[in-house]
Symmetry: C2
Subunit: 369 residues, 2 copies
Amino acid sequence: MVVFEIIVLGANGGPSEYGTQSFILRPVRAESPALIAVDGGAGMHQLREMLAQKWNDNEDYDELVPSFYEHDREPIEFFVNSKLSIQRGLSRSLLQSLKRHGEHFEDANTTNKAYKLFQGITDYYITHPHFDHISGMVINSPSIYEQENTKKKTIWGLPHTVDALQRHVFNDLMWPDLTAERSEKLKLSYLNSKEVHKCTIFPWDVVPFKVHHGIGVKTGAPVYSTFYIFRDRETKDCLVVCGDVEQDHAGLEESLLEDFWSYVAENIPLLHLKGILVECSCPLSFKPEQLYGHLSPTCLINELSNLNTLYNSSKGLSGLNVIVTHVKTAPAKRDPRLTILEELRFLAQERNLGDLRISIALEGHTLFL
Amino acid sequence: MVVFEIIVLGANGGPSEYGTQSFILRPVRAESPALIAVDGGAGMHQLREMLAQKWNDNEDYDELVPSFYEHDREPIEFFVNSKLSIQRGLSRSLLQSLKRHGEHFEDANTTNKAYKLFQGITDYYITHPHFDHISGMVINSPSIYEQENTKKKTIWGLPHTVDALQRHVFNDLMWPDLTAERSEKLKLSYLNSKEVHKCTIFPWDVVPFKVHHGIGVKTGAPVYSTFYIFRDRETKDCLVVCGDVEQDHAGLEESLLEDFWSYVAENIPLLHLKGILVECSCPLSFKPEQLYGHLSPTCLINELSNLNTLYNSSKGLSGLNVIVTHVKTAPAKRDPRLTILEELRFLAQERNLGDLRISIALEGHTLFL
C-alpha cells in the first residue's frame, strides 16, 4: 500500500546553486493541503514551476529531464527504477485538495496558486544548517506576513541546527530575526536525537537521529547532520529521509550510523520500510579524503549491507526503494547521477542485497512510496 | 559608446528563492573571459542555463519571459525600454573569448562549459550579507577546488559585509570555512566606503558607498548595504550598481544617500553615467511602514529627482538608463514588476525627469550600457 507522497523540490548537492535538497511530504491522497518539508534548499519558486506544468504530465512516457552532460536532457527512465511510482509535477490529489480548501483556487494565476500551496507548509524538519539545505526556506520566510496567510510555520531541528539558525541566520545581520516578531508566525523548535516527536499536522511520529557529517576546516570540530524517520501511526509504515552524512570510522567518538541502522532493524519490519532517501554525493572515483563528510557508492552500499545483515531476510532488501539525493555537479563527460546509479546497482548486486530499487531523486517530481 | 556588458543572473527580490540578485560585469567586447560579480544570489546554475540557450536568440523578436501572473510568459517588450540594448543569454563576444582561451571549449558539454565560464569570475563585490544576495555564491564556492580550476576568488565588501560573511557564513557551522584552507583559493577582503579601489582584472575603479537598509527586528540596530560605482579609467564612463536601500529619513544618523548622489553629480558628468541598476522592491500600494528598508516607486523617483536637481541639466536625466532590480514576488493579479514599471514611468514624467529609460532587469539576459 502506498502511504507517503514525496514532492522533490530539490535534490542537487551543489556546487550548482539551483534546486538543492528539499522534500515536501504528505500522506498520500490526504484530504487536506497540509504539507511538511524536510530541508529547505528550494521552496516557493519550485512549487510555482510545478504548478505551471500541465498536471496530467504523468501520462507523458517520453519525458526528458534536465541533465546538461551528454545531452542537455535525458530520458527519465535512465534515472529511476522501473517499479518506482513517480510523476512529473504535483499529484492530482494535492491539486484537488487545494481546490476544495481554497476559494477560487482554479481561477487564480500561477503565483497566487503557489502562495496558497506554500501556505500549506506548516513545519520544516531541517537536517543541518548548511546553505544548500536552508537557503530557499530562509529567502521564502517573509511570505508568512502576506495578509491572506494566517498559518504559522515552525522550523524543527536538533540543537546543532536550531542553535545555528538562531545565531547565524535569524540574527538581524544575515537575515531579519523573524522569530522575534510579536506575531510569532515563525518559530524555531528543538528536537532531541532518538526521541519520538508527534508531527502536529499528520498522524505521524517523527524520530530524528544525529549523524556525523565531516569536520570543520579551521576548527576541526565535528559537524553534525540528521536522519529522520517518519512513521504513520496507523499503518506503521515508515519513510527514512537522510541529511548529508559520513560513514562511521575510527576517528569518531560515537558510531552514530551503526546506532541508526540498529534502531531501524529493531523497530521497523522490512515490509513497513517504504523507502530511504539518502545522499550519495560523489562517484567511486573520489578518494576517501575527497568525500568531506559525504557518502560514495561504496560507503552507501556498505551501510545498506549492514542493514541487510541486521534484517537477515532470505530475500535481502528486495523491494526496498532507495532514492539517491545530493549528487554533486562536477565537470565530467557523463551525468554524475547516472555514473553513481550504475555504480550503486553494480555494487548492490555484487553484495547480494536482493532486488533493491535504486533511483535518483529528480526535482520537480512527485514520488509515491 | 557602449562600455559595460552586464549579465543579469538574478534580479528577484524574494520571497521566491530563484534567481535572486546577482550581476556579472565585463568590459564590452573584452578579449578575455574574465568576469566580476556584483552580489551572488545566483551563479553557476544560471550560467549553465544561459549556455544551454542558442546564442543568437537576440534575433528572436517574439521573446517571452517568465512572469506567472496574468500569463505564465509575457512579451519582453512589456519589461524594457525600447532603446535598451539587451539580448537573451550570453553575448557572442563572451562566447568567442571562451573559445579563444579554452581548449576544446566548443566541443565540451554544457556543464563543462559552465565550469569554464564560472572560473572566469575572480572577484565578487557584495552589497550586503542577506541570503538573497549571497546564497548562490556560497553554494558555488567549493567549485574552486576542481582540479582544472587554478584561479582564486576574492569576495570584497565593506566591513559590515565581510565581517558577517566570516562570522556567520564561513564559520565551519553554516558552511565550511574555505577561507582557512592552506590553498588560499577563497579570500575575504575589506573595502572602505568612498575609497577608490582598483579592480584587479579590469582597468576600472570601484568605489563602494555605505547606505542604509532598515533596522534589525529584535536589535533595532541599523542594517547597512552598499552602492558600487564602476568607472572605466580610460573612457571615464561609469555604472552604478545598488544593493538594497532605504531612503534617508529623520530617524537616521547620517544622510548616506544624499552623500552618494552628491558624489555622483560632482564626479561623473551625466553623459558618462551609463546606467543605474537599482532596487525598487515594492509597488506604490505599500505603505512606508511596509517597506522594511526598501524603495517604493515614490522613493526611487524622489532619489532620481534629487540627482536631477544636482545635475541641473536642461534636458533632465534624458538618456539615462535606470534598470530596476529586486522587485518582490507577491500574490497579485498583475506582475508587480509591470506595476512598478508603470508607476515609475508615470512619476518620472510627472516630475519632469526628461527621457529617462526605465527597464526591469530580466534574469538570463545580457545588457549593454
